[in-house]
Symmetry: C2
Subunit: 277 residues, 2 copies
């Protein structure tokens, strides 16, 4: 057993998606596309001193089901300490990042000798089971600008990617509950998500991704007033912005939000997937 | 059309492999595992000023079939200028890197709007057709320490990875012709490659990868005298070394070669796959 291991997992903004439930959480998930971000979660796992696992995020002890499930699957009692450079609960895939980072670093600390796909499957299944996300984990394991052509973990899904990089700006006004949105009727959302995916498969560029994402947000009726206004402000200065799924968050390519007079956080797409430090 | 675009593609050392021919070069390829490297190829594509494409590697104009095929597939007449930080023709996947880098940067310059998988398929097919490699391109598109579970391009293959990173040292005594080795009877090589893959799938760690690679090099009868001696020197100081497929090159984890008194090049595994700069 090692003393500790540290992993970095990029944040992930989903531009659009369709939900695909399945009884097996490793086969359930979503289709869609998004941006992985240089802003993410840095997470250290060490063996617990007592009999119980604990999870600390940005200095505060929290309860987070996907991480607990990952640790149980690894048969590990650990202390997990994470720092997120991103707003929490606002559509950046923090829970997925914590699940995946715990799997990666936990595998190393407890010498479980699992493969990358096995670790991603564990983290994806834990996240789906907890209802905190459907596609973040597989995207965060991939890096770049992943297109999720099929739902599920690495044994089932099929990924492609948009071969581009970009500076990314974002502002967040708060959270939306993934669980709440997904517990509603998702037929309209899924129809809009499939249409958006067709468009991006047809033309896998960042510009077409942003266009498809905006259309999806409107057709799935997920836009809030502040988000609508902010996207319009960016459009007014010829920028490209859309809404992060699911949060009251607007992201833009390049200097879209700055040009529109906002004071955004600035990062970029992350070329690599989750990695040990 | 853009003025130019630059891509970086990590080098790739194959530890072991089995060859899987197919009439369709996008389905042909190899199974196996290897290390992608922070030492690699940086490559710039710009539209040609005349009617013909040209390729320059480390300041010298060269003929390199996979790059020509990629440019033809992209319907592009271009000048490709590449710098390799690695020995050429010595088992580091330079030709694969040049094919993939040309696909990525060429797609951007000539605005072909292809997806990452489409670009990887084009580069992989061009490399297989030219006989210069079987698995480097898909590994170089993935990054990290990829395990190639199935041969072929992204539509057909299935990748996993060893979730570790390492410092990597290497010394090269010269080249071996991939085409020559592959034109011989490859039955013994393929049997050894399958056995090595089983071992690494069973235990996906760097240590088991190095062990499987050494066994493969011996059983496939690819070891030269200098390579055998060097690997033995590293073993004598409790280091882990093996032979790069296919070159007269020895690579080691950590400080294996330095500890044995060699003066190696030093790099590390590369967490990301090929990327635009």
């Amino acid at each position: 057993m090692r003393e500790e291991a540290t992993a970095f997992v990029p944040g992930h903004i989903t531009g659009f998606f369709s939900a695909h439930p399945d009884e097996d959480p490793t086969k359930a998930g979503s289709r869609g596309a998004g941006l992985t971000l240089t802003d993410g979660v840095e997470l250290t796992v060490e063996p617990a001193t007592g009999d119980e696992s604990s999870v600390v995020l940005n200095g505060t002890e929290i309860n987070i089901d996907p991480v607990v499930t990952v640790l149980e699957t690894l048969d590990a009692t650990a202390r997990v300490e994470a720092d997120a450079e991103l707003p929490i609960g606002a559509g950046f895939g923090i829970s997925g990042a914590m699940a995946l980072g715990t799997a990666l670093a936990g595998n190393r600390v407890f010498e479980r000798k699992l493969s990358m796909n096995e670790l991603v499957t564990i983290a994806h299944g834990a996240e789906v089971q907890a209802g905190t996300g459907l596609g973040d984990v597989v995207a965060q394991a991939h890096g770049g600008v992943p297109i999720r052509l099929e739902p599920g973990g690495p044994q089932d899904n099929h990924l492609d990617a948009i071969p581009e990089r970009a500076r990314v700006e974002y502002v967040s006004f708060g959270g939306l509950s993934t669980a709440d949105v997904l517990s509603n009727d998702t037929d309209q959302l899924t129809a809009a998500g499939k249409q958006a995916l067709s468009r991006v498969v047809e033309e896998p560029t960042l510009l077409s991704f942003m266009y498809a994402s905006r259309l999806f947000a409107r057709e799935a009726e997920l836009l809030t007033e502040r988000v609508t206004e902010t996207i319009a402000d960016v459009s007014a200065v010829d920028g490209q912005a859309s809404m992060a799924m699911l949060g009251e968050t607007v992201f833009a390519l390049g200097t879209g939000l700055s040009d529109a007079g906002y004071d955004p956080s600035v990062c970029a797409t992350h070329p690599a997937g989750a990695m040990l430090r």
